[in-house]
Amino acid sequence: MGKEYPYSEKVMDHFMNPRNMGEIEDATVVADVGNPTCGDLMRLYLKIEGEVIVDAKFKTFGCGAAIASSSILTEMLKGRKIKDALKISNEAVAEALGGLPKVKRHCSIMAEEALKKALENWKEKEKS
């Protein structure tokens, strides 16, 4: 094992052991977001019941920070009310990871965007 890592312990942990990786077969909504700067692509699956996110999963093509941001986002989302979930910012994602390198901040932004997009999709769906 190498001794030094490019990311914080928390990021490395989420990268090595991503939580909630995979698909939700009967997801309420799915959202894809991507950031061309880095060739990242994140797909977020949410299962929503009433006002609550009961399950969240992801698939991500991306760097270590992107995978870790995806992983921790799903952890933050599970069991959370929609209105609380809407308050989750990219800063909160980065903070929950114990910080990200400046150049990797777009990964936490991508996580926030995935969440926002999924919830918008859900609103649209609810309306229709």
């Binding site: 094992m1 190498g2 890592y5 490019p6 990268f15 090595m16 991503p18 990786m21 698909e23 894809d32 061309p36 700067t37 880095c38 060739g39 990242d40 692509l41 994140m42 797909r43 698939k59 991500t60 093509f61 991306g62 760097c63 270590g64 992107a66 995978i67 390198p101 400046k102 150049v103 990797k104 901040r105 777009h106």
Partner: protein
Amino acid sequence: MSKMVYFDRVATALMAKEAVKAITEFLQVPVGNPSAHIHSAGITAAKYIDEARHKVADLVNAKDNEIYFTSGATESNNLAIKGYISGKNEGEIIISEIEHYSILDQVRTLSSLGFEIKFLKVDRFGMVNPDDLGKLITSKTVLVSVMMANPEIGTIQPVKELAKVCGHKGVVFHTDATSAVGYIPVDVTELGVNMMTISSQVLGGPMGTGALYIDKKTILKPIFDGGNQERGYRPGTENVAGIVGFGAACEMIKTRLANESVRLKELGNKLWQGLENKVEHIEFTGHPKLRLPGHVSFWHKFIEGESLLLHLNLKNVMAASGSSCSSNLKGIDEHDLRGSHVLTAVGVPEEYCTGSITFSLDYCNTVDEIIYVLDILPGIVERLEEMSPVYADYIKKREQNG
């Protein structure tokens, strides 16, 4: 593997033990400033530099007084271009489209100062064509710079032919041989180049030292103002310890180069074939034959490079995404993350341009290490494929299409 498997020579080779020994011994000798020509302590330091200069010159078949020490390849490249252009106000400069940033960013600046920049295209193997160069050169062309070997994709350019084209047209030719000297035999006289950048760390010497070969016809101005060091081309007290290590590494490489390039080529081929057989969905980059020995580079269609590298590192394998700039985690903002212009130039789709992997082997590497990497890589790839939405889509599509 408990031992580190180091496959990142193009960024920096692990230091050769000969270089470590030479520096360690040198550090025990009480020396003064090599410009203190009057006292023994200074003269001793100067002798160390002279000896190292001879060893560097010897490796590339230059004369001692054609070798100028610098702080590394970046400075050599800057000295070659800025030093040659200095005093001129206009003209055309031709470089290949896959040069290192230390060339590329210079010509960007020069372009804003009134120089016209022309880019020599590469084919899908990253190879330039000497005929194309012939067509690009006009009476206004003042300088051509094309690297000898590309660190990211391994392709070796036809430098001798390029130099010949320039020679015929009376244009000065510089080659950045950072990733070539020490890997392959390089003979400046036979190649006929006017200037050549040499790096210490790629051939087993310490980081932060290098040289510029300058033939006697080519006159430069120094970048720094100051003292008379390096015959006035490079003012500033020399990095004597670094130069001593650089020289020792050159001496070592010289004796081993012939055997090593065969051995590295075999190791590289084994790695290449193993990857081809064991890992699906990868695309090799660079020229399949005319490439650095022991250099294997590729990208994976469904996996991002950094995450692959991180997993390799967890298993004690150190490799690189082609250019260390694209993995610049310490940048100030995202602008410091640059996709690879080299991969773009050889036709890799934009989204993979931060995602290529370069394995570059060294005289320290063994066949066991190749076997080890080929052993662990499929598992890592599988894990990341499973995580990849792009891969999921691909599988779905494949299933739909039956």
